[in-house]
């Protein structure tokens, strides 16, 4: 698996650390109720097919949102989010 880092170009999967679903981008407000935090931390759509998740590119420190297929492992798109 190779992922196109928005900063460095196509790089081997070993340079990236997987964090989790892109749900992590939608952080609730600090005073949100517990169910919003449960949603954010635990509940997942977990699709078999196209998904969007967060990877950290270790060499350049870019957080990358990767659109990819969980059935074929094809990487469809990658964009910087932080």
């Amino acid at each position: 698996m190779r992922i196109s880092c928005p900063c460095c170009g196509p790089r081997d999967r070993r340079e990236f650390t997987y964090y989790g679903a892109a749900d992590y981008l939608n952080r609730p407000a600090l005073d949100a109720d517990a169910s919003a935090w449960d949603d954010y931390l635990h509940l997942r759509d977990n699709p078999a097919g196209e998904t969007r998740d967060l990877w950290y590119h270790d060499p350049c420190g870019t957080w990358v949102a990767v659109t990819r297929d969980t059935v074929t492992h094809a990487v469809i798109a990658a964009e910087a989010v932080a």
Binding site: D38, L41, L43, R44, N46, A48, T70, V71
Partner: protein
């Protein structure tokens, strides 16, 4: 009903083995059942068996989209153990191991359960302290645990590399009642036993919808037509999210791929199950002679049932670090299983917000050894409406309420357990 015995093997041998009959029927689905179990894997089949045996509920169908045992029950590394630490997990796996010890007699089926002993290695003083605590928790639960020092490990496992500097072997926690079992035989044994009590095992029957009326489950839609049911259990670890979505549920599960490997058959060389946690490697030798080993997840969400090469390389490196002798063995095959990873590494056996609909999922790496106790607990829940005492903490709402069972203490991230 045909009972299996040594005498029958002998007489069949004398009569050309012409008298064996199919181990279970192939019934067409009836229009209605008391209980429909979605998923003909180990957990689903065990649930059917204990519903019949413990609760006398036999108007039951097990629906399997492929063939029985075609999922993770036939794709795992077959380890059976009860070495958990946390209250909530400890009593459950302890119960499971006791059920394993009587399973062959119970099912009249040889599942080749082999209590060859399991050794978890440790490599520092801190890790030793952690294993002492774990071993004491196991003893307090009534299970067995023996702390081995370095020489103790050397006597049992002389072939390990005791000279390596990165992870020096300080000792191990020995769990003599741990071991392995033949994985597909477990599915077949439960299937045959449940079938003999009248449970319908329906293969090639994929569930495409779950019918709910006024907050109560009424049946399922399948590729073989509609089946009405008073109660429905979703027992589809690996595909839990898709099945639960049919009932409008969103689960605290992320699916990951875990790879495993088997070498060519060798003469007996590894007598135990050995776990090298620091290196992410564990190994045992099958009765056929193949070395069966694996490591960690690939760490990204996947349904591919196959992994990528970096983890293959990592597992091989870890194996060579621990026991260089296996370097001469040729790997025959590798495969990946789809793991239901939950945010705390522990499973879910619970009712849902829909009356009559039950959920069994989230087995992470460790579903195989749990099969008997999981079926027992889910059958109890379906029959009585109350969680079984050994599975009372495997609640679906524990993530919302904060009552997590984080055995490894790695936090609420699905892939870290």
């Amino acid at each position: 009903m045909m009972r299996y015995s040594g005498f029958r093997v002998f007489t069949q041998g004398l009569t050309g083995n012409t008298g064996w009959r199919a181990a279970w029927r192939k019934p067409a689905p009836k229009p209605e059942y008391d209980v429909v179990i979605i998923g003909g894997g180990g957990h689903g089949l065990a649930t059917a068996w204990y519903l019949a045996k413990n609760h006398g509920i036999t108007n039951v169908a097990v629906l399997e989209k492929g063939y029985l045992g075609s999922g993770n029950i036939g794709r795992n590394t077959t380890i059976v153990r009860a070495n958990y630490f946390l209250p909530g997990n400890s009593e459950f796996y302890s119960h499971s191991l006791k059920l394993w010890e009587g399973l062959e007699r119970d099912l009249n089926y040889n599942v080749m359960h082999s209590q060859r002993g399991l050794i978890n290695l440790f490599h520092s003083d801190g890790q030793r302290d952690a294993f002492v605590r774990r071993g004491n928790a196991m003893l307090a639960q009534g299970d067995d645990a023996v702390l081995l020092d370095r020489e103790g490990v050397r006597r049992m496992l002389p072939y390990l590399d005791f000279g390596q500097a990165r992870f020096p072997i300080y000792g191990g926690l020995y769990h003599p009642r741990g071991g392995t079992a033949r994985h597909d035989a477990v599915a077949w044994g439960y299937a045959r036993a449940a079938d003999q009590r009248g449970v319908d095992l329906i293969e090639n029957c994929e569930v495409t919808g779950i019918d709910v009326e006024n907050g109560r489950v009424t049946g399922v839609q399948t590729t073989r037509g509609m089946i009405r049911a008073k109660k429905v259990a979703m027992v589809t670890a690996g595909r839990s999210g898709q099945v639960a979505a049919l009932a409008g549920m969103r689960l605290p599960i992320e699916s990951h791929v875990l790879q495993a490997f088997v070498t060519e058959g060798l003469k007996p060389v590894i007598d135990h199950v050995i776990s090298f946690g620091m290196g992410h490697f564990y190994i045992s030798q099958s009765d056929k002679g193949g070395l069966v080993f694996g490591g960690d997840l690939d760490f990204y969400a996947s349904y591919a049932a196959r992994g990528n090469l970096p983890m293959v390389e990592h597992v091989m490196e870890a194996g060579m670090t621990l026991m260089p002798m296996i370097g001469r063995a040729k790997v025959l095959r590798s495969w990946g299983g789809i793991m239901d990873m939950s945010p705390d590494g522990s499973p879910i056996i619970d009712s849902t917000g829909i009356e009559g609909l039950y959920l069994n999922c989230g087995w992470n790496y460790g579903g195989f050894k749990a099969v008997p106790a999981s079926g027992w607990a889910l059958a109890h829940l379906i029959a009585t409406g109350q969680p079984h005492e050994t599975a009372a903490r495997f609640r679906l709402d524990r993530f919302a309420t904060g009552h997590l069972l984080d055995e490894e203490g790695t936090g609420s991230q699905h892939n870290l357990h």
